[in-house]
């Protein structure tokens, strides 16, 4: 039983950065922008987040540093891809290359330093409930933020007028523009939100997951977040399922190896990606009429003035 609890805790921890980064990218893509720079924004968020926490001794300030850093990175993207209407794919890739280099530069002075990781919630009695106590009432703040965030995004996209307008920009920017909505301004805000989330997700790694900074420590999680958005077919509910599924497969394959289940570890490492492909095939076969990709995703929009 304790093992089950330990596994669930590890799954939540592994899924949280994916969920936060993917939530941001979901909003970005729903507004019609494809920002492939998630990995770059995340790693800069990780470096700045660690720097902030190390300098001030506060995890909260570290997280804020991460958010600001991610947002600033996304503004570079917004300037290029929205302001100057440069190809979004190229800009996103460039942002990742820039981010990896920049984070190495920012983090160089902090390599080898340690901080005290984010504290976990503790409510007497509740946290001590066997099996579910620590899972529900004993997480670090990032986990609760990630869940709050995705619920807020769902509510925003489907229950508010602003969300409807944002989705309209993503599906048909010409019509949205014709109706008088400031498409580029809306998209800029979406991109900034995506950057803030990526920065926070990156900061989670050195602040809560492994409390030190090493260049390249995101190790491709930004790309997984991008895959998750496609996996979710741009729906918040499915995004949650996808993020925890990815986390679960990652952790369970490690445990399966420890138990000596005779499946090659390379195959098990590839399972999350195999799962993505299978789900994509199933989704496209099902043709539920649900939302597929935002129609204007990745296309450049230059308003005629």
């Amino acid at each position: 039983m304790e093992l089950v609890e330990a596994i669930v805790l590890a799954v939540l921890a592994a899924s949280t950065p994916l969920l936060i980064a993917a939530t941001g990218e979901l909003v970005v893509e729903r507004s019609g922008v494809l920002n492939l720079g998630v990995e770059g924004m995340m790693i800069v968020g990780a470096a700045c987040g660690f720097a902030g926490a190390w300098l001030t001794g506060s995890i909260l300030i570290g997280a804020l540093f991460g958010i600001v850093a991610g947002t600033l990175m996304s503004l570079v993207f917004a300037l290029m891809a929205l302001g100057l209407a440069v190809n979004q794919v190229a800009t996103g890739l460039a942002l990742t290359i820039l981010g990896v280099g920049l984070s190495g530069l920012i983090g160089a002075g902090f390599v080898g330093e340690r901080i005290t990781p984010a504290v976990h919630l503790f409510i007497p009695v509740l946290t001590d409930i066997p099996l579910i106590g620590r899972v529900l009432f004993g997480e670090d703040g990032f986990v609760y933020v990630s869940i709050t965030l995705i619920i807020a995004v769902w509510w925003f996209l489907y229950r508010t007028r602003a969300g409807l307008i944002l989705r309209a920009c993503g599906d048909n920017h010409v019509s949205a523009h014709a109706l008088g909505y400031p498409v580029l301004r809306i998209r800029t805000f979406a991109v900034m939100f995506g950057g803030a989330c990526a920065g926070l997700a990156g900061a989670y790694l050195p602040l809560a997951y492994t409390p030190f900074f090493i260049p390249g420590m995101t190790a491709g999680r930004g790309w997984i977040a991008l895959a998750l958005v496609v996996f979710s077919s741009w729906r918040p509910g499915r995004l949650v399922v996808g993020a925890y599924l990815f986390g679960a497969v990652t952790i369970l394959q490690l445990h399966a190896q420890g138990w000596g289940v005779g499946i090659p570890s390379q195959f098990m490492s590839a399972l999350p990606y195999l799962a993505t492909v299978i789900v994509l095939v199933l989704l496209s076969r099902a043709r539920t009429g649900g939302s597929t990709a935002p129609a204007a995703l990745g296309t450049v929009f230059v308003p005629d003035r």
Binding site: L3, T210, P215, G216, M217, A219, I251, Q257, G260, S265
Partner: protein, 358 residues
């Protein structure tokens, strides 16, 4: 892609800075690094070796390095860049640089090359590596003494002979202390992913392991062991900072003495193509101080280290029984020969796991 761009940029900067310098009579020595020098592991240790070299021979030589150079064909350009910049002795410090180094070596017969951990040589290309399995043997002894649960956790990178021989050496040593010792092996299938390494360490501890050993590069596993109050061994470099109450010891790559020796040979004009596979006796690696253990365990570790250094104790002393219960052919007299260790692709008896790909 990004790495090659970085390398290219670094190469351009390098070319610029070197043409500006006019230290014509100083020997130029170049280094190609896989990671950033701040990786706290593999590349960091190579750079410490370079720094030791500069300290020793700084008035006669000039060193340059390119970091973040990806393995494979892209490395060729970076190596050639160093040649064109006038470097006469070039160290390429990762297995994947083997073929690119050989290619460049054949093209420039007057330049000398040194390739780490590979097996292809040329009249102007040496290879060098370390017998880390000797250190793993000492760790196995300590682990078996210190483990209360009798379960060791081992995080592997990839099932290549270097890693497999490390696991076998650990288990063989541990069995001399506790014949029923269990080792749980998790392959991370990466050399470097702090998050995943931490997850693997958590999984091993959750499954009952109380001593964690790793053959991956980040201090994440050490940090998790520290957080959970378990014991662990570092990798490549000193990691005690990440587990002050957890680190038992760590295998430290110490390339400095070798780099100094080879550069001295180059300066004296006696450099020859050689294959160096050195162990504790030739200082190719060292053991970090033995910490967090009682004095008798410490003494046992020190004695084993002295015996291995003196050549009295061989970790792969025959008879060695494979997982299938059959004895392994003993090609090196009373121990396995170097070829058998360098190509090790089987588990010894007592590991109840399956080697991937077998």
């Amino acid at each position: 892609m990004r790495k090659s761009l970085l390398a290219l940029a670094a190469g351009l900067l390098l070319a610029g800075s070197i043409s500006a310098a006019s230290a014509a009579d100083k020997l130029k020595v170049g280094f190609i690094y896989l990671g950033p020098i701040g990786d706290l592991g593999w590349t960091y240790q190579h750079d410490l070796g370079r720094q030791a070299l500069v300290k020793e021979l700084g008035d006669k030589i000039e060193t340059t390095y390119l970091e973040n150079v990806p393995e494979g064909p892209d490395a060729e350009r970076s190596i050639e860049q160093l040649v064109r910049a006038g470097n006469k002795l070039i160290f390429t410090t990762s297995f994947g640089y083997m073929d690119p180094t050989l290619k460049v070596a054949k093209k420039y017969p007057n330049v000398h090359f040194e390739h780490a951990t590979g097996y292809k040589r040329n009249p102007n290309m040496s290879t060098y590596s370390a017998k880390w399995y000797q250190g793993r043997y000492i760790q196995g002894l300590i682990a078996a003494k210190m483990s209360k649960s009798g379960v060791l956790g081992y995080i592997g990178s990839f099932p290549i002979p270097e890693v497999v021989s490390g696991i076998n050496a650990t288990v063989l040593a541990a069995q001399t202390i506790n014949p029923n010792i269990k080792v749980k092996i998790i392959w991370a299938n990466t050399w470097f992913d702090p998050g995943k390494e931490a997850d693997a360490a958590k999984a091993l501890i959750d499954q009952g392991a109380d001593v964690i050993m790793q053959h991956t590069d980040s201090p994440a596993a050490m940090q998790i062991a520290s957080e959970r109050g378990k014991l662990a061994f570092g990798q490549d470099s000193e990691m005690i900072k990440f587990g002050p109450k957890s680190q038992l010891t760590s295998i430290l790559d110490t390339w400095g003495p070798y780099y100094i020796e080879r550069v001295k040979a180059e300066l004296a004009g006696t450099w020859k193509s050689e294959d160096t596979w050195g162990g504790l006796d030739s200082h190719m690696f060292a053991m970090a101080p033995y910490t967090n253990m009682p004095d008798d365990v410490k003494k046992m570790a020190e004695d084993a280290q002295a015996a291995i250094t003196a050549g009295k104790l061989h970790p792969f002393k025959c008879p060695i029984v494979g997982q299938d219960g059959k004895p392994v052919e003993c090609k090196g007299g009373d121990h396995l020969d170097d070829g058998q260790i360098l190509g090790m692709n089987f588990y010894v008896k007592g590991i109840d796991d399956k080697l991937p790909g077998k």
